[in-house]
């Protein structure tokens, strides 16, 4: 028993020794690798800080070297924003997109890693064209032309007084671009519309206001992580990140500002997206033209046929119907995406149909009236002239048309009013998501115009504070 135990003990000791030896041999390279990675990261951080200090020598004092270095400035200049009558839910946006970043903070990063997208899959991005790059004081300026065909899922209730949200997403084409998108500065992100667009020279739409937002969605990233690497354990990563966060704020503990990036590290588990939304409202003259032209055409034809007294009531009834049909077809082909849309979703034409129906009812009554008159004439009864009744009917018909136009005008005024804040705000910024969080800068119409940077105020000019 003793001998057996001694042999076992020797074997056990040898096993332990071998295990330890192997563990040390395998642990050495990994710890060395970790040390190399840490020192590499530190060296790169030092290089970034050194590059930032060239621009902001006091960044250390205020604890903002890393944040300043990583900050990305961007702008979007929209030249055209159009939508065709055939496909009113497809919008073509074209213009220039510009970036300004510190290449030392994003080594190897190229603008081709970014793309523009939209909410639905029916979205076509032209790619970046006419690129221009310049480097000034260590920062790189890059600008390029783009064209984006965005498809939105919209309802055309109240068309053509319809209002739409068109969302442009700044997307990454590689996973490493996420950090770049996260550091796009929302405050200084300039969204400008060309004056021709604001004046409606090349678009039927006006942009009431725009929003610029950043959205975080842990579940989206988590799902894509699972799809890409089945063995990954995001929860473990989260826990390790959370334990990093658990440390107290060294900035206030030491009394000296410390980089906030070191206090609140960006979680790799969050999927960050940046987007610009435009709230489009069809310009009032364009909308009125789209209503007034076809409506007047239809009403004119209907009423003209109604008042053609040389014809018999039956012929007037027939010609009214024929002219109405022709003008309706013309109106639908020219001013509406399709007949279906005109007939089933256009409140204005429903009203026109009512007027046409009233006229037709009057015509039927007129037919009966003339028939009754001929009966009276046949028996020799003295009757007043027919034109008196005809005039009275014309007056009734004209009043009805004026009433309808007045009602439409009032409805138009109501429909032109901008929506209340929460609905518009949410509609424009909810990315059809029910999880996540977003922060949004609301840009009003006057901020979308290219600004004059300096104005000479003449004597006596009063300015309201």
């Amino acid at each position: 028993m003793n001998r057996f135990s001694r042999r076992q003990l020797v074997q056990f000791v040898v096993c332990i020794a071998l295990t330890l030896l192997l563990a040390v041999r395998f642990a050495e390279p990994s710890s060395a690798q970790a040390r190399t990675e840490t020192s590499g990261a530190l060296a790169s951080q030092q290089a970034i800080i050194a590059a930032t200090k060239q621009i902001d020598p006091e960044c250390d004092r205020f604890g903002r070297c890393l944040v300043n270095a990583k900050m990305v400035f961007a702008s979007l200049d929209v030249e055209r924003l159009t939508s065709s009558l055939d496909q009113p839910n497809n919008y073509t946006i074209s213009g220039w997109f510009s970036l300004n970043w510190l290449p030392a903070a994003y080594p190897g990063w190229q603008p081709s890693n970014l793309a523009l997208g939209c909410r639905s899959s029916g979205c076509r991005f032209s790619g970046w064209r006419d690129n221009f790059t310049e480097e000034i004081s260590g920062r790189r300026f890059w600008t390029a032309r783009f064209e984006l065909e965005a498809q939105e899922a919209d309802s055309f209730f109240a068309y053509p007084f319809d209002q739409h949200w068109v969302k442009v997403l700044i997307q990454s084409t590689t996973p490493s671009t996420d950090e770049f998108i996260h550091y796009i500065d929302l405050n200084s992100f300039s969204v400008e519309l060309a004056p021709s667009l604001m004046q409606g020279r090349n678009s039927n739409f006006k942009v009431n206001y725009a929003t610029l937002g950043q959205q975080a969605n842990f579940f989206l990233r988590n799902a894509s992580n699972k799809a890409v690497e089945a063995g990954a354990a995001p929860q473990q990563q989260r826990d390790s990140k959370s334990s990093q966060n658990a440390s107290t704020d060294p900035s206030e503990a030491s009394g000296k500002p410390v980089e906030s990036d070191l206090i609140f590290p960006v979680s790799n588990d969050e999927y960050i997206s940046t987007s610009i939304s435009f709230h489009l409202v069809r310009r009032t003259p364009a909308a009125l033209l789209m209503i007034a032209t076809p409506m007047l055409l239809i009403l004119f034809n209907t009423i003209m046929a109604f008042h053609w007294r040389e014809n018999s009531p039956a012929s007037r009834f027939g010609s009214s119907g024929l002219l109405t049909t022709v003008s309706l077809f013309f109106a639908s082909r020219v001013f509406r995406p399709d007949v279906d849309q005109l007939v089933f979703s256009d409140v204005w034409f429903i009203v026109v149909f009512i007027v046409i129906t009233i006229n037709n009812v009057i015509l039927v009554w007129l037919f009966r009236f003339y028939k009754h008159r001929s009966e009276l004439k046949r028996v020799g009864t003295t009757i007043p002239p027919a034109w008196k009744t005809e005039n009275r009917l014309s007056l009734i018909s004209g009043s009805a048309v004026i009433g309808v136009i007045a009602a439409l005008f009032l409805i138009s005024l109501t429909m032109l009013r901008p929506p209340a804040i929460p609905i518009a705000f949410l509609a424009g910024n909810s990315n059809h998501d029910d999880v996540g969080a977003s922060v949004v800068k609301v840009i009003e119409r006057h901020e979308l115009l290219p600004s004059e940077y300096l104005i000479n105020m003449p004597p006596g000019s009063q300015r309201q504070d």
Binding site: I55, S120, T248, S260, S345, V347, A437, S438, V440, R463
Partner: protein, 367 residues
């Protein structure tokens, strides 16, 4: 009409509700009409809050809210984060307009971020007596007088002499401030982002008849070098030179007394700088708002990391005593409205964050 499982209506039901919606328009897109309606429904059940504030504080609030959002979410477990979307919108308006809009009884804003005169703010309750608003100070910002680098004679500015000179009918000249300076007229430059007329009057200076107005205070500094006789009154901050990447200007120290003592526009001189030119940054929090706990949590975050967040965003942090008082006022409110199971997601996430970071400004200051 609404499916209990998904909260979505079918397209047919929608068409039945609204006769003007066509099936064709619903089919035109990859996302059908039911999805749009569902997203609206979901949006309405989300936690959304709109905050109104000055353009000058927008950078501070947007940057810090992103920090707050990310830090809170990083501490929360997935079961807290799921099934909710929180959106925070910052609407822009000058401080006076923002205050008037926010204080209306029908206001839909959950909060406002305002730049105010410290004395005026201390004297009156936010939005008048009986209001449900509490006011949280966040930090300070200074107004400064700047001249271009080409101006080699002005090394300080006597406010009293400038006030006297401004009363002259033909406007102030540099020689009115110091006889050794040139007899040229002062060319005033202001930024439309700040209430410069009130600032001038507050230090006894009569607003000039003719002046140049810049769209932003940064563009005012950039355009300052247009003429050597330019004098700019605008917001200033420690990182200005860095932000403008070496724009050439000099912020003049102010001579406040007859004995010639000067004070520079720096955070160290917060107490000695003319009080009229020190502006407080305040967060007005509507305690009756549906999602007030999100703004309260955000305010708590900004107070807990006040030095870091204010310095990083070019504002001056609160002195320790004021920070303690502000935290106390906020804690009193939070005690009256504790976070529960039905609270918005971000509030619960932030509660987790604070649990992990058992750290208060008082503790920091005691260290």
């Amino acid at each position: 009409m609404v499916s209990a499982a998904t909260g979505c209506r079918s397209t047919d039901q929608l068409v039945a509700i609204n006769p003007f919606l066509s099936r064709r328009s619903a089919k035109n897109s990859d996302l059908n009409l039911a999805e749009i309606q569902a997203s609206y429904d979901q949006s309405l059940s989300n936690d959304h809050l709109a905050v109104l504030g000055s353009q000058l504080t927008r950078e501070l609030i947007l940057n810090n809210y992103i920090r707050f959002m990310m830090a809170s979410r990083a501490s929360a477990t997935p079961d807290i984060l799921q099934g909710n979307f929180t959106s925070f919108g910052y609407f822009n308006a000058p401080s006076k307009t923002a205050r008037n809009e926010y204080c209306k009884s029908t206001s839909k804003f959950a909060g406002a971020v305002l730049i105010g005169n410290i004395k005026n703010e201390a004297q009156s309750p936010p939005c008048g007596p009986g209001s449900s608003t509490i006011r949280i100070p966040l930090g300070y910002s200074l107004r400064g007088f700047a001249v271009p680098s080409a101006n080699r004679f002005a090394q300080r500015l006597d406010l009293a002499a400038l006030a006297r000179a401004s009363q002259k009918p033909d406007g102030a000249r540099w020689s009115d401030l110091d006889p050794s300076w040139p007899k040229r007229r002062i060319r005033w430059l202001f930024s439309s982002q700040a209430d410069f007329l009130a600032d001038l009057r507050s230090v006894g200076i009569k607003p000039p008849a003719r002046y140049q107005l810049a769209a932003t205070y940064l563009s005012a500094y950039q355009n300052l070098g247009n003429h050597p006789d330019n004098l700019l009154l605008a917001p200033t901050n420690p990182g200005l030179s860095a932000t403008l990447e070496g724009a050439r200007f000099q912020i003049l120290p102010l001579q406040t007394g007859p004995e010639g003592r000067t004070v520079a526009a720096t955070a160290d001189n917060l107490q000695s700088y003319p009080a009229q030119l020190v502006k407080g940054l305040y967060l007005y929090l509507n305690t009756k708002s549906a999602n007030s706990c999100i703004i309260a949590s955000f305010a708590d975050f900004m107070l807990n990391h006040n030095a870091t967040l204010m310095n990083e965003n070019n504002a001056i942090p609160l002195p320790p005593a004021e920070l303690r008082a502000a935290s106390l006022a906020l804690q009193n409110h939070q005690r009256s409205a504790p976070i529960g199971a039905n609270s918005p997601t971000l509030c619960k996430a932030y509660a987790e964050y604070t649990k992990r970071n058992q750290h208060t400004p008082q503790q920091a200051n005691n260290r």
